[in-house]
């Protein structure tokens, strides 16, 4: 099976690439899409050339990670990782360093490592705000709602607003969706002028809660105004909600018009390919995603296996493989969407067997 798939990788139809061009008769390659906020990065890069220090590495890595969360800019994640590896640990290892590394580990779904790093932060500052928020986030991803609530509790003496948001998110995940939604809705209404990153975070939670209550269009409405600046994970939610109500058109038009469409993450490209298929707009994105997923299967990557489960459930229909990958995914990630994916895969396999 392996040799055949290996061969297939190189026999697929060529697709357009926009990362190579001619400049003054010379071939030039673009390594990664330019981040939108590049001025600060340019300044720090200049300092790195002349006087690289741990502090500059951390500031740069922080901007890279921030940028890498936008759809299509995922490559910057690896540059951040690389920078953090050049960090020279000292006796007084910086809390910022621990937080950045912890965020990288949680993004890779290496939750235990991430929590271990956060423990080091808590030893120095037991009520550290960012560390508490990341810890709550990780416990939610693992569906440990009691531990998530304990992490929220650390915020109580620091920031009552953050404590409330954190608690309402956990309350929803405990199944109290209606109570949590109403409480968070009221809180959000009180603070109508929020700092943008905070606004995105809260609207993301409200959207999830509205979805769980069956209000799909409301869930989409929460995301719409913040989509431009939202991380790829919220774009993914937005795309799935629209595909759920047969609004493939808006998904196709929005994603295919992104400047960075060719470098979109597999998960978003998959949604674009599904929209392309539903709308019968050719097979361009389907060809690309088929290639990428073949490679993921050959590599036997278990990180973020949800992509493969969605692929075999929604594009290249194979319920058996969908369930195989959904189970692998659920070993590490237990968010509501991961649970839903597992159930849908099980149902699809049962339906296939009963035919």
């Amino acid at each position: 099976m392996f040799s055949l798939m290996y061969l297939l990788l190189f026999l697929t139809q060529p697709v357009a690439v926009d990362n190579t061009k001619l400049v003054n008769d010379e071939v030039v390659f673009t390594l990664k899409p330019e981040l939108p906020t590049n001025q600060e990065i340019d300044t720090l890069l200049e300092i790195m050339r002349t006087n690289p220090t741990n502090n500059v590495r951390l500031r740069l890595a922080s901007l890279y990670i921030q940028g890498s969360k936008l759809p299509g800019f995922g490559d910057w994640f690896h540059y951040a990782e690389s920078l953090l590896m050049q960090y020279v640990p000292s006796d007084t290892t910086s809390i910022d360093y621990l937080l950045l590394l912890s965020d990288i580990k949680q993004q890779q779904h290496h939750f235990s490592e991430s929590l271990h790093l956060l423990d080091q932060v808590f030893q120095a500052q037991p009520q550290h705000i960012q560390a508490s928020l990341i810890a709550a986030r990780i416990h939610l991803a693992m569906h440990n709602t009691d531990l998530a609530q304990k992490s929220c509790q650390r915020l109580l003496s620091q920031d009552i607003f953050l404590f409330s948001v954190c608690t309402y998110e956990v309350l929803g995940r405990k199944g109290e969706w209606q109570t949590a939604y109403e409480a968070l809705y009221a809180l959000h209404a009180k603070y109508y002028e929020l700092e943008p990153a905070l606004d995105i975070w809260i609207k993301g939670i409200l959207s999830e809660q509205a979805e769980q209550l069956g209000h799909i269009r409301t869930a989409i409405e929460w995301l719409k105004p913040v989509l431009d600046k939202a991380p790829a994970s919220l774009w993914l939610k937005w795309a799935d909600l629209n595909l759920d109500i047969s609004e493939a058109d808006i998904v196709y038009e929005t994603l295919s018009n992104l400047k960075v469409v060719e470098s979109l993450e597999d998960s978003l490209l998959l949604r674009l390919a599904i929209a392309e298929r539903d709308l019968k707009r050719g097979e361009h994105y389907q060809t690309i995603i088929h290639d990428r997923m073949r490679l993921r299967v050959i590599r036997q990557d278990t990180d973020h296996a949800a992509d493969l489960a969605h692929y075999f459930l929604r594009l290249k229909y194979d319920p058996k493989l969908a369930l195989y990958w959904a189970k692998i995914n659920y070993q590490s990630a237990k968010e509501p969407d991961d649970k839903k994916l597992l159930v849908l895969s099980e149902q699809a396999l049962l339906a296939m067997k009963s035919e």
């Binding site: 690439v17 190579t20 690896h78 990782e81 690389s82 949680q106 960012q130 991380p231 919220l234 973020h304």
Partner: protein, 169 residues
């Protein structure tokens, strides 16, 4: 506006969890035999060479001339990270001149095709030890196509599986 007193990196964490995978780094290595000499064809993403700080220019756009100008650093890196051993003795690896290098687009990414020869003094028992690019990303893997020593096989080498063939006691 409600703002915060803490550092700018707080922005990072007011987001939903990463429900998507970052790009995986993949390189390809074909090892074969021609005229009694072992030949390696190493296909590596230009992006990965840049991440490993192997290109002379650390910019977002890089020309073919700048890539080939990095011959020395790439050759040194390969020599230290890719080993062919013959019964415990290292084979001499030589990266062919940059004039032989080519470009191939694999999965919309530009790759450099590097040709390498190995002198294993005609010893048939050869083993690959691959350590490249793992340090620049946890997800790097090598897709290996092996066709020497009367063994034809494909394998995936990863951070926790760096040797081929892996002879276990």
């Amino acid at each position: 506006m409600r703002t915060f007193f803490i550092s700018v990196i707080i922005h990072l964490f007011f987001v939903a969890p990463a429900a998507y995978a970052h790009k995986f780094s993949t390189a390809y290595l074909d090892i074969s035999e021609k005229n009694a000499q072992i030949q390696l064809l190493y296909k590596v993403a230009i992006h990965d060479l840049a991440s490993a700080n192997l290109l002379s220019e650390q910019t977002n756009q890089i020309s073919w001339k700048q890539i080939t100008a990095s011959y020395e650093s790439i050759a040194h890196y390969i020599d230290s990270q890719v080993k062919l051993n013959s019964e415990g003795t290292p084979c001499a690896l030589v990266l062919l001149p940059a004039t032989t290098w080519q470009v191939q687009h694999i999965q919309q990414q530009p790759y450099v095709l590097l040709q390498i020869t190995a002198d294993c003094s005609n010893n048939p028992l050869v083993q690959l030890s691959y350590n490249a690019l793992f340090e620049t990303g946890h997800s790097h893997k090598l897709l290996l196509s092996w066709n020497i020593n009367n063994l034809k096989a494909n394998a995936v080498l990863a951070e926790d599986e760096r040797i081929f063939p892996n002879v276990k006691d």
